[in-house]
């Protein structure tokens, strides 16, 4: 089950490369370069060195004692990806792809961003490695995440406002791909999630699997056994696949992906791709997609800009249909409640994305007994969301 993707970039029926012909050679070159460098000890050493010395890995696996005892069920461990440099797991991937871009001789990089976390992580690595960086961001998200826009500018990147379509992550991805089609010969596209055409879903998973690899080792050390559940939020699904992948062959470990139900899966305002979507082709790969009966992609909604996406990475679709992982929805309100709960019990303000995983854990833990263990990916810190949260908690539904 971990041998995927195959040579066509397929995870079972999912994945592939559904892109304009203009991009095909660039994707093939990227795949070749990645397969080459991922076996190159010097490349691996450079990436690891940056992960450890620059980003501060390994991140801790923290036993949330207060929360666990309050809920009165399983022991809850938080994988503290929020402690990474730039405040989220996104940098694991941008370090890997940034070094790869450099090895491939590219001097310009582009990236899409929703919440701004991937944009900031890309801008950071571009500054570090001396690459010229443009980040495409929906106008709507730029309003929601002004602080991150300013951070990217401080880091020397240009933020390009996307005014087409929904003006959120979905159209930021479209616009980045369109820009790449025009500038494919000298520009490297740092895709931020485990989505898009092959080889991105594989490559992003490989760069993010350090989350799961470290968690597995740490929990064995602390508990002497594997966890009963591994929980992670999914938008495109990069932190979740990074967390899940090293546990896929461990049959006793249940994998739980948490998607954004927005105002509820029975409303039209949600981003519950697995709960309400169908198989389809979207932004370069076959996967679950939120779409109408005619195959038009539907706009998503979530309080969290990072989960506000009508698609999901193809490997998640494979894990769902194979019955290996389960995907459950959490509403905006549940996420907000969980964010406050974690802030008060543990002194940790999670990102709104991660708050979805916390909310599911708060539901799950009391149903388990005290010797069971839940490992949750705390994918990012909440600083970027504080202003938005103030608006919501003040009753301002902006």
């Amino acid at each position: 089950m971990t041998q995927y993707p195959d040579s066509n970039g397929r995870f079972g029926p999912f994945g592939g490369r559904y892109v304009p012909e203009t991009l095909m050679n660039a994707l093939l070159e990227l795949e070749e370069a990645y397969l080459h460098y991922s076996k190159d000890p010097e490349f691996k050493a450079e990436v690891l060195d940056l992960l450890y010395r620059y980003s501060g890995r390994p991140t801790s696996l923290y036993y949330a004692k207060n929360l666990s005892e309050k809920l009165g069920g399983a022991k809850i461990y938080l994988k503290r990806e929020d402690l990474n440099h730039t405040g989220a797991h996104k940098i694991n991937n941008t370090i890997g792809q940034g070094v790869l871009a450099k090895r491939m001789g590219k001097t310009k990089v582009i990236a899409e961003t929703g919440a701004g976390q991937h944009g900031v992580a890309s801008a950071t690595i571009a500054a570090l490695l001396g690459l010229e960086c443009k980040v495409f961001m929906g106008e709507e998200d730029m309003k929601r995440q002004q602080l991150n826009v300013f951070r990217m500018n401080l880091l020397g990147s240009e933020v390009v406002p996307v005014t087409s379509g929904t003006r959120t992550l979905k159209d930021a991805c479209n616009e980045t791909l369109r820009y790449w089609v025009s500038n494919v010969t000298d520009t490297y596209y740092i895709l931020g999630s485990a989505t898009g055409p092959h080889p991105y879903p594989m490559m992003v998973r490989d760069f993010q699997r350090i989350i799961g690899d470290e968690s597995r080792e740490q929990i064995m050390k602390y508990e002497g056994k594997l966890p009963d559940y591994v929980v992670a939020a999914v938008g495109g699904g990069s932190n979740a696949i990074g967390m899940f992948y090293p546990f896929i062959e461990d049959e006793g470990v249940k994998l739980l992906g948490v998607e954004a139900a927005g105002r509820g899966v029975d409303t039209e305002e949600h981003a519950a791709t697995m709960t309400k979507g169908r198989h389809g082709v979207f932004q370069g790969s076959m996967s679950y997609v939120l779409q109408d009966e005619h195959g038009q992609v539907l706009p998503a909604h979530s309080i969290s800009a990072g989960l506000d996406y009508p698609g999901i990475g193809p490997e998640h679709s494979y894990l769902k249909d194979a019955g290996r992982a389960q995907y459950v929805p959490i509403t905006d309100q549940e996420a907000l409640d969980a964010l406050q709960e974690l802030s008060r019990t543990e002194g940790i303000i999670p990102a709104l994305e991660s708050a979805h995983a916390i909310a599911q854990t708060i539901k799950l833990a009391p149903t388990l007994n005290k010797d069971q263990v839940v490992v949750v990916s705390l994918s990012g810190r909440g600083d970027k969301d504080v202003e938005a949260i103030m608006g919501y908690l003040g009753g301002n539904e902006s």
């Binding site: 066509n8 592939g16 490369r17 559904y18 892109v19 304009p20 012909e21 203009t22 991009l23 095909m24 050679n25 660039a26 087409s164 379509g165 979905k170 479209n174 791909l177 369109r178 089609v181 025009s182 500038n183 494919v184 010969t185 169908r278 389809g280 082709v281 979207f282 932004q283 370069g284 997609v289 779409q291 009966e293 005619h294 195959g295 038009q296 992609v297 539907l298």
Partner: protein, 268 residues
């Protein structure tokens, strides 16, 4: 014989080139599209590409994106666009019809059912801009079975892929003039000629060029090298500019006439 082959054979006998306009179906309404295609034919179009509006048109620039949005406001579907073929024949249009659609609407429709409907509605060719040869086996097999030409795109970046792509081509090979999405360009890189020569050498079917071509001068330039020239955004923009005229019964003819003159001028 497929109508596209027949048309290219006729043009070749007369030593002429094909002018192939692209329009977005349902822009601004499906009824308008019927009249616009009649107008294009009258202006000298040799075939027409019927664009199916899509929520995420990755290969398209702002002009065609806006056209898609206008059509989707009235929920134009893939079925509506295919059935336009039948309506166009009833309205007396005889030129070959080519459906241009992203892959997901076909996939959701069901492939066999899709081809059944395409054949019933007199459509001769199909262009799917997000389906490279690596992913098109099933669609290609069915297209052959139903005698619908699956027209492939080749790009300046295709390089050694050109031979593999052209080998399977039916109808014609759609050469993407330059890097980038659809939309008017002021000039073209000189390398485009080498690219066209490469495609010509490896192709047994006619070659046509598109992406960015908007003026008579540009059409004339590419007529030297290609059997057909595709003009999309420039025509869609002309339609966009005439939407207010088209939507008013008193000025409708004037709007259609403006489109006709623009296309007739491209033809030269």
């Amino acid at each position: 014989m497929n109508l596209i082959d027949q048309k290219f054979a006729e043009l070749k006998a007369e030593q002429k080139n094909a002018l192939i306009p692209f329009i977005s179906c349902g822009d601004p309404t499906l009824d308008d599209t019927v009249d616009i295609v009649k107008t294009l034919e009258a202006a000298g179009a040799d075939m027409v590409e019927l664009g199916v509006p899509y929520s995420d048109p990755l290969a398209d620039g702002p002009v065609i994106q806006r056209a898609s949005e206008r059509a989707l406001k009235y929920s134009v579907t893939l079925t509506d666009c295919i059935k336009l073929g039948g309506r166009l024949r009833e309205a007396g249009v005889t030129i070959p019809l080519i459906l241009f659609t992203y892959y997901n609407p076909i996939y959701q429709f069901g492939m066999e059912a899709f081809f059944e409907l395409v054949v019933q509605n007199h459509i001769s060719g199909l262009i799917v801009p997000d389906l490279p040869i690596e992913e098109d086996q099933e669609l290609r097999r069915l297209a052959e079975q139903y005698n619908i030409h699956l027209i492939p795109l080749v790009a300046p970046t295709s390089k050694e892929r050109v031979v593999r792509i052209t080998k399977q081509a039916r109808g014609f090979v759609y050469c993407v003039s330059s890097l980038g999405v659809t939309g008017e360009r002021s000039d073209f890189h000189t390398e485009v000629d080498e690219f066209l020569d490469l495609v010509r050498r490896s192709s047994d079917v006619p070659i046509a060029i598109g992406f960015g071509i908007s003026s008579r001068e540009q059409v004339a330039r590419f007529e030297q090298k290609c059997d057909g020239v595709i003009v999309g955004s420039a025509i869609v923009r002309t339609i966009e500019n005439n939407v207010p005229l088209l939507q008013n019964a008193a000025t409708r003819e004037e709007g259609l006439n403006n489109i006709k003159q623009f296309v007739a001028a491209l033809k030269g």
